[in-house]
């Protein structure tokens, strides 16, 4: 399995979820496991470029897949545009849901460069935030879309 461009090979039990594999086998603890039954979305990662809940996938299924986690976003210690927008808009309090939010929005902003508020909110229905920070998260996502557009033009 490749994770964030790095090849990993491990012998594992079939029952190990992808989320546990990322955290316990290769030490990438940025992905958070909340409910472990597919409701909260905290464990969202990209699996071959598409978001998926890493608690609802066994690592064995992804033998040979390309996994992208929240650790891939910041480069050289610098937050990426989406992460920076989260910080600027105070789009996180405890931060538990944030890795999942970021990965879900990473997919959205890749596929839809100019989403409206409804599209952002619909996309985020699969991610729960218990600090009730959705308003700021939506603002951050919309702002990130604008900043990304500006960066593309520059």
């Amino acid at each position: 399995m490749r994770v964030n461009g790095v090849h990993y090979e491990r012998e594992i039990e079939p029952r190990m979820t992808l989320g546990d594999f990322l955290r316990h086998e290769i030490g990438l603890t940025g992905t958070h496991l909340g409910c472990e039954h597919g409701v909260c979305g905290a464990c969202t990662v990209l699996i071959d470029g598409r978001t998926g809940r890493s608690c609802l996938a066994f690592a064995m299924q992804e033998d040979g897949s390309e996994i992208t986690t929240v650790e891939s976003l910041a480069q050289g210690g610098e937050l990426n545009i989406l992460q920076q927008a989260f910080q600027d808009h105070h789009a996180l309090q405890c931060g538990f849901c944030t890795p999942g939010m970021l990965m879900t929005l990473t997919e959205l902003l890749r596929d839809n460069q100019n989403p409206n508020e409804t599209e952002v909110r619909e996309t985020l229905t699969g991610n729960l935030c218990r600090c009730t920070g959705y308003a700021a998260i939506v603002e951050a996502a919309l702002d990130a879309a604008q900043r990304l557009a500006a960066a593309r033009e520059a």
């Binding site: 079939p14 029952r15 546990d20 979305g41 598409r50 609802l56 066994f58 064995m60 033998d63 879900t104």
Partner: protein
């Protein structure tokens, strides 16, 4: 929680998968895993073997032939949602798909998996029933085809044997320009519906209802066709009054009660959602001026 231990099998052909299923004890099929893995994490389900169908190419794809859309059982819900063929030929299915779970689960969830899981609130079983879809199943003993109404046998229960695999689903298309409407009520977009209604309409030139399908989810152990309402409408001229008369047929329903909603509330939702779905179906085909 974590799942109980199991052995994992990843066949690369349908024949290999069928052999495994016919030989293994207490085996479960793993499709997209969006319901099964959650149930395994809770240890509601403890299979000794999982047979993963993800690497069997012949189980994936969407093709149109002679007015029928054939969808491989392992086709992901997200691929259906963005398929041009589905959008053009099965607009009701496209509308319903937007309500199936969330983006992350649609990326992985499959049509065959959702049908086989047969949750009474789920959209895909309801859509299969609404469109009179046919489910194709295979085992080492051969293939057979079941209409959706026979396939969907009960609560989380479908009419297939333990060694059988759902291989494809066939949706017959309605006439081009047919009317359709889909309405659902859930506490959060993408959550399991408390109730939902799907409607299909074909009208004659004088606005006579030639063909109609009305299907509800969330009101019984399986999705249900509101056949008495279809009978009310068929052969009659479509207007707002007829839609109300059809929606009133929901009074015969005896919905489930659970923590989310009581029977009276569900029956009310069923009526209103049926009315709205039929209203949209009438408008979608620009069939009548105002409903």
């Amino acid at each position: 929680m974590k799942p109980a231990p199991f052995d994992y099998h990843r066949p690369i052909s349908l024949d290999e998968a069928l052999d495994l299923l016919s030989n293994l004890e207490n085996a479960k099929i793993l499709a997209g895993g969006q319901s099964l893995i959650a149930m395994m994490n809770f240890r509601f389900v403890q299979p000794d073997h999982l047979v993963d169908l993800a690497r069997i190419p012949e189980l994936t794809g969407i093709e149109e032939r002679d007015g029928v859309i054939r969808i491989g059982a392992m086709t992901r819900q997200r691929d259906l949602e963005f398929s041009d063929v589905i959008a053009q030929r099965l607009p009701l299915v496209k509308a319903g798909l937007a309500h199936v779970g969330h983006r992350q689960t649609r990326n992985r969830g499959t049509i065959g998996g959702s049908l086989s899981h047969a949750d009474p609130s789920a959209e895909l079983p309801m859509l299969a029933l609404a469109q009179d879809a046919t489910i194709e199943v295979r085992s080492t003993r051969g293939a057979r085809r079941l209409p959706a109404r026979e396939f969907l046998r009960g609560y989380l229960d479908v009419a297939i044997e333990l060694d059988e695999i759902v291989t494809a689903v066939e949706f017959p298309c309605w006439r081009a320009g047919h009317g359709w409407g889909f309405h659902e009520f859930a506490r959060r977009h993408g959550d399991f519906a408390i109730a939902g209604a799907a409607a299909l309409l074909e009208l004659g030139e004088d606005q006579t209802v030639e063909r109609v399908s009305i299907t509800l989810n969330g009101v019984d152990v399986t999705p249900v066709r509101l056949t008495s309402a279809e009978d009310v409408m068929r052969g009659r001229r479509l207007d707002a009054e007829l839609i109300c008369a059809a929606a009133a047929e929901t009074r015969h329903l005896e919905p489930l009660e659970d923590a989310h909603a009581g029977a009276v509330y569900r029956r009310h939702l069923a009526k209103m959602l049926t009315q709205r779905a039929l209203g949209d179906a009438a408008k979608a085909g620009a069939l009548i001026a105002s409903v």
